[in-house]
Amino acid sequence: MKNDNLYKYILGIADNSLILGQRLGELCGHGPSLETDIACTNLSLDLLGQVRSYYQYAAKIAGDGRSEDDIAMLRKERDYLNVLLVEQPNTDFAYCMGRQFLFDVYHFMFLNELQKSTDFTLSAIAIKSIKEVSYHQRFSSDWIKRLGDGTEESHLKMQTAIDDLWTYTDELFHQTDADKAMVTEGIGVDITKLKSAYYQKVSDILEEATLKVPESKYFQKGGKQGIHTEHMGFLLAELQYMQRAYPNMEW
């Protein structure tokens, strides 16, 4: 493909939101309360709305007749380029909010930079999405503080979730070959430059939530190369079921 790097770059961004959106969507009807249930599925719909624009653009770049749905729904596990963080399961509400928070802080900083992309489509998507993501960040940060600085039990659960998910944070800042190529062309965001600000912001909020910043220096990686955790297959099975069972189905 002529624009292989750009195509992969778009997928890297879009897959993060698609997979996280799918995870949040799983909470539909299962949230801890009616209000948080709707809130989480709203986040999911925001993300899915954003990924449509990315996949439409990716389909145009690919130019091989595949539609946005084909790209979103019909790739194999190894072809999904999302970070491991977003595919982690909804173990409990603390995990859901921990995962959301650790991603939102990154997502906001990322879109903030992507707005300046020389690629008109990507910058337009970033400008449109950042308001939504700004709210996501506020929502998940509030919950981190509520649960962290709540009861003994909620504190314990929140700390456990952050400790477990921490190992997936470093990957957010790993550059793929496509990332590097896009930075050189002025299209992509140099994510390595966001790293220290990210950990600063995350630490500030954890501190406000009376939570300990994990000290672990061992980090997981692989998602950006398509090597996923064992949870990914199950997630995709549900995500892709309809398109695989009834090819080309439409609502």
Partner: protein, 115 residues
């Protein structure tokens, strides 16, 4: 001096109600949404939340997700004093036969459309 008061305000914003957060049944809040600038806030419904901050966020997600609003008020339901339906007779019926309280005896110019 100014800086100090700003910091106090920030702290107040994140004073979540821990005691209520830990209970199983969060209190009920009434939600009022202003759908357009210039219109009044209208009662949209109610929801559960541990404190005002959460009530606002919940209201945003439950009642304004289809672009219904530009402003939200929330008030804990227990703070609303309601009239008793049993007293409807003495409260409201006396007004029914006082037609002269309605300004229906004036001729309005056609240009006045919404009265």
């Amino acid at each position: 001096m100014k800086l100090k008061s700003k910091k106090v305000q920030l702290q107040v914003r994140f004073q979540f109600n821990k005691k209520i957060m830990a209970t199983k049944n969060w209190p009920l809040w009434e939600v009022f949404v202003r759908s357009k600038n210039g219109l009044e806030h209208r009662h949209f419904g109610s929801l559960h939340a541990a404190d005002a901050e959460m009530a606002l966020e919940n209201a945003r997600d439950v009642y304004t997700r289809r672009n219904e609003g530009v402003s939200i008020w929330v008030v804990e339901s227990k703070n609303i004093t309601a009239s008793n339906p049993e007293h409807n007779g003495e409260m409201f019926e006396p007004a029914q036969d006082k037609v002269y309280r309605h300004p229906t005896f004036y001729e309005l110019p056609d240009e006045v459309k919404y009265m």
